[in-house]
Each structure stands twice: as C-alpha cells, then as structure tokens.
Amino acid sequence: MNPFRIALGVLAIGVVAWLGFELAGGPSRDGGTSSTPMTFATSADCRQCHAEVYDEWAMSEHANAWTGPEVRLLSMDFANQDCIDCHAPSPVFQSGIGERVRPRNVRQVEGVDCITCHLLPDGGVAGTRSDPRAACRPVARAELSSAEHCAGCHNQHGTVDQWRASRFAAQGVGCIDCHMPHRGGDPSRGRSHASPGGTDIELVRGAIALRGGAQDGVWYVEVENIGAGHSFPTDERSRAADLFWRPQAAQDDAPLPWRHLARLRDPYRTEVDVPTTLLAAHETRRYEVRSGPSDPHRHTLAPVGDPVQGPIEVALFYKRSPYYADPAAPDPEREARLVHRIVLAP
C-alpha cells in the first residue's frame, strides 16, 4: 500500500476521532487539567461551571420545594415528615428510576436539587452526553430525560400515569418537552432548568382553552385541555381551577361580583363527599351557565338554576391553595390567578 495513503488514512482517522470527541464532549470546562472528577457535597458546587442552569433552577419550584412559604405552612415546617420524601429526596438514580424516592436528611433546604436528579450511586454525574474532560465527568444516561425519572415524585398523584394515557405519550412528547424546554427554542442552547409548571401562568394559558356560545337560548362554556400532557390541574391536590361568570356590567358601571360555575380539582382524602373533577388530557367539558348557587369547595358537577339571559363574562381562574376565604362569596381576582376571560354576548 502506498505509504502516503496510509499516512493520510491515519491522519483522517485522527481528525475524525478528534472531531467526534469534541462534538460529543464539547469544551472542557476545567481545561482538561484535573485528573479526578469533582465530588459534590451541595448543588452550589455545580454553579462553578453551570451558572446559567443553576440560576434557572434557583428560581424554580424545585429549588423552593423546602423553603417555599406555602409548603412550610402546609407541612408545619416539615413537622409533617411525610412531606420530606418528595420535598428533599435522595438521588433518583439511587432510589431507582421509576421507583418511589426516599428522603434525605442533609441539604434539605436545597429541595429538589442538582444532586437529586444527576448524582449516580457511584458518585458520578448523569448527563445527557458523556464528557470525560469536564470537571464532573458526566456520563450519558438516557433515563435522565425519561418520564420515569420524574415519576418517583410526580406520579404520587398520578401525573405520569395521566400522561401515559394521553396521546402525547404515544407521540413521544415527554415531560421535559414542556417542563424543560430548549432555551429560546434552540436545542444547541440546552434545556431550561426553571421547570415551569402551574406557577407559569403563560404555560397554563397555552394548555387550556376556554370558549363559549349559546344553544337553545342557554349560554354554555367549554373548557378544553388542549396542551397539558396530563390532567388539569394535576399533581398536588391543593391545586384547583375554577370557572366563574357574571353578567357583563354596562360600560360605566362597576363589575358585578363573580359567581362560581364549576371547579376542576382532585380533593384531599379527607374530603370524602367531594368528587374528582380533573380535566383529563385532550378532554373537553361543557357547562351550562345557570343562575343557581355553586360552592367551589364542593366541586360542582352540574350547575343548577335557570338559564342566564343577556351578555356575560366567563373566566377561568387557577389557584394553588384550594380554599377561598369565603366560599359563599369567593373573590377569585384576589385569591387566584386569571387564566382566560371571555365575553359571551347575544
């Protein structure tokens, strides 16, 4: 064989190998000088190299899982130890993918942190790609982006099962496609670790549609789960969505109080007489607008009373704590967040 060809072949292989390594691993964040991988005692250690990711996470509900005022109240500062399992979990890879998470007794204030999702049982770090030159020596683990990875906590209320039953699962649209989107829609920028969910009202607005009309002289409202890959609301039973209506006020008049129409929620176990009214993925539910009373805490299924005449406003509100200060006269504008508002006029 021609020695020139051999040399060219060796060079080509070398270039391809180098390119492959660079493309797979990317630039070394420690300059490739460390001989041993970092060990991680706290998620703050990750910030040295992953500042953007860390800062996104630090503003997320995952980071708030231990310190958020609502969970502090509801758990009585975690005197209710049953909350610890999911609010300060041990690494998911340690409990086992798809298995129930187990609690940890250190770094609890970090809540659901970097270590929870990325630390491997051998002390290594799971990533979406392997990088032997990075400080943490990430090892590619496909489970990291699977729904099963989230299931240990998020299937405790059936969210992952709801997704499995949806068309999204069959289409290969998983949890991270909505809750860890590519930054700016650009895959090369990696995925956001802000993990938007119910706290991101824009995400909620995009997932749920509200429309209405009249049939046989009776106003109706339809709420459709168009984009959530699970029921709406989902996860914690404290989360609730409420439909309210009110006669549209004349132009210069003050708006009238909102009147409750229907509620979407999974009740607490103690609420034995209250039905589950979650809106499943892809489901559309229609309610007639009637003048009868409706108690948000009882999860009205079928509005009662006479059909309403004249133009009306209808609004969908979302709230993360289930109860209104005065269920007989709820004030959703103060106690909940507006998702959609429509006007129905003859």
């Binding site: 706290t42 509801l74 009585m76 129930r100 940890r104 289930p322 209104y324």
Partner: protein, 527 residues
C-alpha cells in the same frame, strides 16, 4: 449459613416468635454498643404475614363448628328484615326480645347489619340499632362491620356511635384501622368517641383526639364533655390528669394502673400488613402506615424492630421512621436499631431514631460517628441524635467535634453540633453559631430556633433578667404567620410573614439580647 447470618436472622425471627407467644419487648438491652456486623436481610414482613395467617388457619380448622346452622341468603334477609322491623317498632320487653333474636342471628348476619347501617335510605332507628346489635354480638366479624361503618357512614353520628361501641368491645384486630381514623375523622363528636375508644384499648394516642375536642371544639357543651371524659380516662388508671397521661404515654411512662395488653394474632397480622405497605409505590398507603404504626402500643414497637431486617429498603426505612416517631415508647427497639447504624442509606435515619427514642446506650456509638471518615449524612444525624439524648456526658465529644469541623465547609454539621450542645446543657459554646444559622440560607432554621427557644426558656425559668421578655417576644413572632389551611377549612395560605423573615427577626432579637444582657451561661464564644 454463616454465624453472622444466623445471628441477624435469629434476631428478627426470634422477635417474631416472641411476639407470637404474646411476650412484650423480648429484645435484651445491652449495657453498651454490641459488636456489630452487617445485618442479614430477608422478606420479614411477608414471612411474618404467612406465618400468622397459617396459625390462624390452623386455629380456625380446629375450632368447634358454629352452633347456629347456616341459612340461605334469601331466608337470612327475610328473617333480618322481620326482626329489624319488629325491634324498631316495639318497646320494652318486645324490643328486647327482637334485639336478642338479632344478636343471636347466624354469623352471616354481620354483613347484613353492616350493609343496613351504611344504607343512607334506611330508617335512622334501624341504622343505629345495627350498631347496638353488632356490639352485642361481639365477634371479630362484628367488630370489622362496625369498623367499616366507622370509616364510611354518614351522618357523622353513626360514626361516633360505631367508635363508641368499638371502644366497648374486646376485639383488637381493628385497632390499627381505628387509629388511622385519627387522621381522617373530621366530625368533632366523632373524634371524641374515636379517641375514647382507642384509650379503652390502651392506645392512649387517642387521648390527643379527646383533648383536641376539649380544647378546640366550637360546641362548648361537647368540649366540656370531652374534658370530663379525658379526666375520667386519667382517673381510671391513676394518672394525675389527662395531660399527664398524654405526656406519659408519649414518654413511655404510663402509670401503674395501665395494664399492658396482650394482643391477639389478628392484631399482629394487621400490623404486619401495614408494615408490608411501606413497600408500595404510592405514598398514600405509606403515609397511613407511618401514621398509625407510630401511634400504637409497645407491641408495634417490637414488630417494627423485627421489620428492620426486611429485605425491602422501603420497609426498613418505614420501620425506622415509625420507631423514631414513637419516641421513647419504642425504647425496646434500641439494640436492633444499633445494628443498622452503619447502613449507608438507613444509617442517618437510625441515628435520628436512636436519639428520639431516648436510648442512652447509643451514646458511644453516636459519638464514634462524629469522627472523621464517617459518611457526612450519618455524621450530621449522629450529632443531632446526641442532642436528642440530651446527655451532659456527650458534651466533651460534641465540643471536640465542634473544634474539628470547618463551619464554612460543613455548615450543617456545625449547626447540628451547636444545637446539640444547647440540648446537652452547654449553650455557651453554641449560641453565636445558632443565631447565625437562623439567617443562613444554606441551613434549615427551625431546628436552631427550637434550640435557642429551649435556652431562653431555661434562662427564664432561672429568672435571668430579661429572659422572660425575650422569650415572650420570640414566641410572639410566630403570630405573624398565617395559620396553615387544613382540609375543610377556608383559611387562606397566602400572606403573613414567611418563616425566613420570622427567623431573621428572631436573630435580630437574640443578637440584641445577647449583646446587651450577656446573661449567665449565654456568653457567645467564638471558636
């Protein structure tokens, strides 16, 4: 089987057999830390369930056949309807005769009585009579029927009646489910009789329910009734008052009048079935199991001790958590817990449990886990556990550990040691660190807050100038916080001061106090 295997295997098997024999707390208590080797694990819960079920099956096979011959279902229904109508439509001796016939009905009648009591379309008099008949029949099936009514019946008065009658029956197989009702019962009167019923069976966790009614029921007549019932429960066993009895129960110190109960095989089977639920994926059942097992008696502590050797990490963890939550009542599990102290995952929870159950023989082992080379999570847990033990003898080891730890690198360990120094009576070396911990975002502030409050309370009790005022102000800061929204309540969860803000205010208060007063034994010492 190796000697090590037979040792550990024998421990849990021995514990099960011991329990089956009806003996309490068979585990010997060593004077000091036993020589430990890694415990050998087995499907303990499933084995125990199979063992007990086999024994119960044997007992049933050898039991005398019922003296009442079975009757066809249609005939049973016809007879029960007739008797029920007669008994509820009659008075005096005629009613008594009808009720007696209902009581003497064949075994299958329990299911009919249960269904009728739960039938919301049935007449109220019939539904309540079902409760009476079930109690007087007195069998296990009847207790099961009453339990089902207690779990599901509406209106709440029926549940209250079912609880009361279960308290008067001798059956203990339903006690685990009855205890779980403390978590779910929402009617004040029903809670009163639920708590009362549990106390009748020697489960004084129920007293918490009675006292909650006494203190918080909006109906003052009911609250007074609860107060009287609580006092009567205390009087029955020679406790000074209901609060002493409740505290004594959780400390594992019941008065001599409280006779230990010998529990049935059915009771133990129920405990094992709940323990097996620790292995479920859904936390709902796990939470329920943790709730009820931690509120049962010493038999549960022994069973949980045996479950520490289960092959499932979830069962082992659940068992440790329950023992921890039982507190000093689970003291007998101390030696078994010690065997798991070096379990890489379970160890920290074991250390915590050893502190919470107040097991002083664990002191030496816990101190050893403060040495360099210990897993960080275990080190922190061991430091905290020494504080829960509260032994002055642990102060030298804690001080040595405080000296060695780098507060910048290991803030949680530093905080845990400092807190434990307060609980062990050496606050001078810890106060500055604890005040700083209240505002350190890397640390959970509530544990430091509790330790500091303990210190203030001790100073107030010793009449240290200014201490009582600071303690009052310290407590008053909690009032800035809105109440948690309980299911069924309309309380909002937003608004008010966040815990961090409360702790920051406390830190400012204490800094001012320590700087200005510099009271006895509180001088901050910088390492």
């Amino acid at each position: 089987m190796t000697p090590r295997t037979s040792h550990s295997f024998g421990r849990w098997l021995g514990a099960i057999l011991c329990l089956l024999a009806g003996a309490a707390a068979c585990t010997p208590e060593p004077e000091s830390e036993p020589e430990r080797s890694a415990p050998v694990l087995a499907p303990v819960a499933l084995d125990a369930i199979a063992l007990i079920e086999a024994r119960l099956a044997d007992a049933r096979a050898t039991a005398l056949p019922s003296s009442t011959p079975p009757i066809p279902p249609a005939e049973l229904v016809r007879r029960m309807e007739g008797l029920m109508g007669f008994a509820t439509g009659s008075g005096g001796r005629a009613r008594d005769a009808g009720v007696t016939d209902l009581v003497d009905s064949p075994a299958e009648a329990s299911a009919w009585l249960r269904a009728r009591a739960l039938d919301e379309d049935a007449r109220e008099a019939e539904r309540y009579l079902c409760l009476e008949v079930l109690e007087r029949r007195g069998g296990q099936d009847d207790a099961e029927a009453l339990m089902a009514i207690a779990e599901r019946a509406r209106p709440a008065g029926l549940r209250a009646g079912a609880y009361w009658r279960l308290g008067r029956m001798g059956e203990d197989a339903v006690l685990a489910r009855l205890t779980l009702r403390l978590k779910y019962e929402t009617d004040w009167e029903a809670v009163l009789w639920l708590g009362w019923a549990l106390c009748q069976h020697g489960i004084y966790s129920g007293l918490d329910g009675v006292l909650a009614v006494a203190n918080s029921a909006p109906d003052r007549d009911l609250a007074e009734r609860a107060t009287a019932e609580a006092q009567a429960l205390a009087d029955e066993i020679g406790a000074g008052d209901a609060y002493q009895l409740a505290n004594g129960w959780w400390r594992g110190e019941l008065p001599a009048g409280a006779v230990p109960r010998v529990r049935s095989l059915e009771y133990q089977l129920e405990l094992w079935r709940w323990i097996a639920r620790f292995d479920e994926f859904q936390l709902r059942g796990v939470d329920d199991a943790r709730f009820l097992l931690a509120r049962l008696d010493g038999v549960a502590a022994d069973v949980l001790g045996a479950a520490l050797f289960d092959a499932s990490p979830y069962v082992r963890l659940g068992a440790v958590q329950c023992l921890e939550r039982m507190g000093p009542r689970a003291h007998s599990a101390g030696p078994l817990l010690l065997e798991h102290l070096d379990d890489p995952e379970l160890g920290p929870w074991v250390a915590s449990a050893l502190g919470r159950i107040q097991y002083p023989p664990a002191k030496e082992a816990l101190e050893q886990r403060l040495q360099p080379g210990t897993a960080p999570a275990l080190e922190v847990a061991a430091a905290r556990a020494l504080g829960h033990l509260g032994l002055a003898e642990a102060v030298p080891a804690l001080l040595a550990a405080l000296k060695n730890v780098d507060a910048g690198q290991r803030p949680e360990l530093h905080q845990a040691i400092a807190e434990s120094l307060v609980w062990c009576g050496a606050p001078a070396f810890a106060l500055e660190a604890l005040v700083a911990a209240l505002t350190d975002p890397r640390l959970e502030p509530s544990t430091s807050s509790a330790a500091l409050r303990h210190h203030l309370a001790r100073q107030a009790a010793a009449s240290v100038p200014g201490a009582q005022d600071v303690l009052t102000e310290f407590d008053a800061l909690n009032a800035q916080r809105p109440p948690a929204a309980a299911p069924g309540s309309a309380a909002p969860t937003r608004g008010g001061a966040a815990p961090r803000e409360i702790e920051a205010a406390r830190a400012a208060l204490l800094r001012n106090y320590f700087d200005s007063a510099n009271p006895l034994d509180s001088a901050p010492v910088t390492k």
